[in-house]
Subunit: 78 residues, 2 copies
Amino acid sequence: MAIKVYLEEVLKARGMTSKELSALVGITEANLSILRSGKAKGIRFSTINKICYYLNCDVGDILKFDGILDMEDTEDHE
Amino acid sequence: MAIKVYLEEVLKARGMTSKELSALVGITEANLSILRSGKAKGIRFSTINKICYYLNCDVGDILKFDGILDMEDTEDHE
DNA sequence: TCCCGAATTATCGTAAAACAATAATTTTGT
DNA sequence: ACAAAATTATTGTTTTACGATAATTCGGGA
């Protein structure tokens, strides 16, 4: 995916576990895991908001564009 | 909202109109307007991907956390 | 090498909302 | 004043975020 999720590295930098963050944010560990592993297809601003708040970081620290236009979702593929 | 959308300024910096971007991204002008004005509650990564690609910018240029924990969506409010 | 807690993965269900399509109204630049 | 751009409004469809739950796997001690 062209938009990459860097939750893992920010968590590590903060010395926080997924479990702790999920508790703070109020999201299940399962869903945080999906987000963390890049399997989520989108996200609510309210969720990014809480994540950034509790990790004390900015959106750009967690989500980054790798320069590639992903066409996985353009009808005609596969 | 604690997650702010800076589409307007990036567009301006690129000298591009909303109409042009909506055509490139493949989203309606109406929906881009909602996003641009901060009325959207979330976004798909596929959409951010295209926006970043066509505006040649990173996620952090468009979405920023203003440091405030927004509670507008926490059951008990209002 | 057991344990145990953390993390991942998988299912199923629900509610939210992204986005399309369309059209009307408003704003803005010239 | 005019035309293009942008906003706003409506309605409908479909995606999917996220909850709840549970089973499986991974990882670091003791």
